[in-house]
């Protein structure tokens, strides 16, 4: 699975990095991006789904690789 953050939607709530810091990181202004190429490790899929569902701006997409 791969994650992506739509930069046009992200509004720096930061919930993604709280839920799943192995996949999502925040920059110095609080905006989210994926770590590396956004690959989600098997054990982190549940946390990544929570991050996507909880994003107030629905800025996260998860795609089965």
């Amino acid at each position: 699975m791969k994650a992506a953050v739509d930069a046009t939607k992200c509004n720096a709530y930061g919930t993604c990095a709280d839920h799943c810091p192995s996949v999502f990181q925040l920059d110095e202004w609080g905006y989210g991006s994926v770590v590396g190429d956004g690959t989600v490790a098997e054990a982190e899929i549940g946390a990544a789904k929570v991050a996507a569902a909880d994003c107030p701006e629905k800025a996260i997409t998860l795609i089965d690789a």
Partner: protein
């Protein structure tokens, strides 16, 4: 402080570099043909050159496109055959768009091409439409003189009883830097604002009308039309193995003869200025390459670099749209960087938080350094943003600001506050 003079590019009021063009003395011209240098070629003159005559078509043309090595002349230098085949692979109906928006401030070559050889661009667009079997063909423009020239060309075709004139639409958009980005283009043609969208999907998957869409720079289409009639071997007779063909470049700044020139790819930056640009001013200490998108390059490091896509990429820059500005004595590195960074912060479309904040931070940091109030920490921040911000926005705009930050420090280290 006085703004750097370099910001008065071809699009600045009164600039006339897009009004005439010339040819490098070593080549037979493909685009800047005799009679077109200062005036629009009308239909009869174009027909005499073979424009609108059929050449290689369909799958055979796609093979020829691959053999030619033609890459996109709008900035990204993406292989044309991969882009065209990507659209063919999608389910029809498909759409083709000639992108003549040219939001790059230092570039005037697309405006020259559209106002002097609009028929060749239309010929390339119609070729693209036949090749990808498109149901819709659009010319995407922003400058009034390009709109008038393309309208005039379509009227000439219609008056000559050529039905193909009716197959082409013109879409006019307000000129901004990001309006020429391909996802912004699709959004605008679809009736929305000319602002980029997140990828995927890319236009070849879902663009205008949600259909597979070929968005091609107008110069790329003109080369494609030439290629269809002359073949890949002739195309490759100019340029280098990795960057074949000719290109339109816009030379500006501290040189003897700023303007638009058709040149073979692979000449060094210094050769280009010497051979067509009237010579570099002695005091010129560096360049902006690839418009304002490839950062700054120091003269002694860059002037003997060939103008081909790979060589400039190796320097951390890029030939991009082929615009090269020679920096003059007044264009001190930090002042130029500060002015360009202010432009980036102003021109950000304001869609992506990271772009709004990143461009502002780069602007403020360069301004502090330019005012003599910068610190080593400021310099380190510029380096870090140069590394971490590329790829973060929905379009490549933020990458340009990041490249500016990284290249200014790397190319002119002595101009920045030293570490403790």
């Amino acid at each position: 402080m006085t703004p750097a003079s370099v910001l008065a590019g071809p699009h600045a009021e009164g600039a006339d570099s897009a009004r005439r063009a010339a040819v490098h003395p070593a080549i037979a011209p493909r685009l800047v043909v005799a009679g077109s240098e200062e005036a629009r070629l009308h239909l009869a003159a174009e027909r005499a050159l073979g424009t609108y005559e059929p050449g290689t078509e369909g799958g055979e043309f796609l093979d020829e496109l691959e053999r030619s090595g033609l890459t996109g002349r709008g900035g990204a230098a993406f292989p044309a055959h991969i882009k065209w085949r990507g659209v063919v692979a999608g389910e029809g109906p498909r759409v083709v768009v000639a992108n003549g928006e040219e939001g790059e401030p230092a570039s005037g070559k697309d405006r020259w091409l559209l106002t002097h050889r609009p028929h060749l661009v239309l010929d390339g667009l119609l070729l693209a439409a036949r090749t990808v079997r498109a149901g819709r063909a659009v010319v995407y423009l922003s400058h009034p003189e390009t709109v008038a020239a393309v309208r005039g060309a379509l009227d000439e075709l219609a008056a000559a009883g050529d039905d193909r004139a009716r197959e082409v639409e013109i879409h006019v958009v307000d000129p901004t830097y990001v309006a020429g980005e391909e996802s912004a283009l699709c959004r605008s043609v679809n009736g929305g604002p000319a602002l980029p969208t997140a990828k995927p999907p890319r236009p070849h998957e879902s663009g205008v009308d949600g259909r597979p869409t070929l968005v091609s720079n107008v110069e790329t289409l003109a080369h494609a039309a030439w290629l269809a009639r002359n073949g890949a071997d002739a195309f490759r007779a100019q340029g280098t193995a990795a960057s074949p063909g000719t290109a339109l470049v816009t030379l500006s700044g501290a040189c003897g003869a700023p303007g638009v020139y058709e040149v073979p790819l692979g000449r060094t930056i210094r050769q280009l200025f010497d051979e067509v640009g009237g010579g570099l001013a002695e005091e010129s200490h560096g360049f902006l390459v690839g418009g304002w998108f490839g950062g700054v390059l120091r003269r002694e490091r860059a002037q003997d670099t060939p103008c081909c896509y790979d060589a400039l990429r190796t320097l951390g820059s890029g030939l991009g749209c082929g615009a090269i500005t020679a920096l003059g004595a007044d264009d001190t590195p930090v002042r130029v960087a500060a002015d360009l960074a202010a432009w980036y912060a102003r021109e950000s479309a304001g869609q992506c938080g990271v772009c709004v904040n990143g461009t502002k931070a780069i602007r403020d940091t360069f301004a502090r350094i330019a005012d003599g109030a910068g610190s080593a920490d400021d310099r380190d921040k510029l380096v870090r943003w140069g590394d971490t911000l590329p790829g973060r926005g929905a379009c490549a705009f933020l990458n340009g600001a990041a490249t500016l930050a990284r290249s200014a420090v790397a190319q002119y280290p002595e101009a920045f506050p030293a570490g403790a």
